[in-house]
Symmetry: C2
């Protein structure tokens, strides 16, 4: 009985996700589902990236949180349409919520929608939202062992943002160990080390977002051996 119900929950979600995907395809809208732990810097990343896109792209944001509208207020200050999704305790977003929220936008007037998931690197990775790509967001202050310990997200992601690199020298984060673990789970997704504080690395990530939106080959940032830029 329990298995059947869980099965139905995922089935209902997958059906809603397929509908979201079809709606987005018809409107030519690209959706990035940002997944990362609490305080990893997802909202700060949007605050950095969105202004870099706005002269060429029409952007909107769905802000997922358990409580408060604080993140939506921060995004609203950028002058882009934003809807706050409150799960009221739920630890992840589901596709049916996304479908409902997208009705608030004129999709024909948009190019890119960012979904900021609830701060959690476990559950959100299990739910297909109909997004174009999942982007994992992690920061160096969280440690290099997170991919190995929370493997699903790093397996599912299309790209990985590694933030707070301005604090790297103050941590024990080992970039080589980190990359080895990531590559064991996901051989191809590009890794974007960046700092929302200094702005370093944000342009590369913004270029990847646009390349994916345009259907060009994702701009994979090759990481040659001995590259010590982060």
């Amino acid at each position: 009985m329990e298995i059947k119900v869980l099965h139905n929950i995922l089935e209902v979600n997958d059906r809603a996700a397929d509908e979201v995907r079809a709606t987005l395809a018809a409107a030519g809208v690209t959706v990035f589902n940002l997944i990362g732990g609490p305080g990893t810097g997802k909202t700060s990343l949007l605050e950095q990236v969105i202004p870099r896109l706005l002269d060429r792209r029409r952007v909107a944001v769905l802000e997922g949180d358990i409580a408060t509208t604080r993140d939506a207020e921060r995004i609203g200050a950028l002058g882009v349409p934003v809807v706050q999704l409150l799960t009221g305790g739920g630890c992840h977003l589901e596709a049916v919520l996304i479908a409902k929220a997208l009705e608030e936008f004129d999709l024909d007037a948009l190019d890119i929608v960012f979904v900021e998931n609830v701060g959690n690197i476990a559950c959100p990775a299990e739910f297909d939202l109909g997004e174009t790509a999942k982007v994992a967001v992690l920061s160096v202050t969280e440690g290099d062992d997170k991919p190995a310990k929370y493997p699903l997200l790093f397996h599912e992601m299309s790209a990985l943002v590694l933030g707070k690199t301005d604090l790297l020298s103050l941590t024990d984060f080992d970039p080589e160990r980190f990359e080895r673990d990531v590559r064991g789970l996901n051989p191809k997704a590009p890794i974007f080390p960046l700092s929302c504080r200094t702005g370093e690395g944000v342009d590369s990530f913004a270029q990847w977002l646009e390349a994916l939106h345009e259907g060009r080959e994702p701009a994979v940032r090759p990481r040659a051996d001995g590259d010590s830029s982060w």
Copy 2:
């Protein structure tokens, strides 16, 4: 139907938690359930605190993770009994797992058991493990807005560890705003600012753990206005 099943899951958990509580009470063992996001520093906290307790207290650890035995290896290096609980995808620990794991220990030979929950500040707070106290673990690099955004944990906790204070000056973390939000959810739980890197503040937290184990009034650290020690 779905509601009934969810109801049963929580009922089953609560029954197992009551059994754990009775077992622990009979053995005189105190259990601290550490709940915090991924990379907030839960394992590092144990690495700092356990050596401070070992000359007077017999300690063991249950390490909860989705995958890998890395944390159990770090704790094992301290020379205390440790069991790694792997959820295999699950985003939180449940009481039935704790009951099973405690069978691995000789409880009469223990004083304090730490449970390190899966790195997640949403779901684990919903599950009673039969613990003596929930301890919330957060770090300044995650931002001062987390209590308001993930209220359940901060409502349920008996104490709050605020880690990585050595990085405070490099962040936008506002201690006053943080404390105001915490107090709105939980007027009494003591807050322990500390740094596992410098060791500052760890002794106060260790003293609180022992006071709770001994049944003395928890050593609430008064935070007078204008206290700028963190």
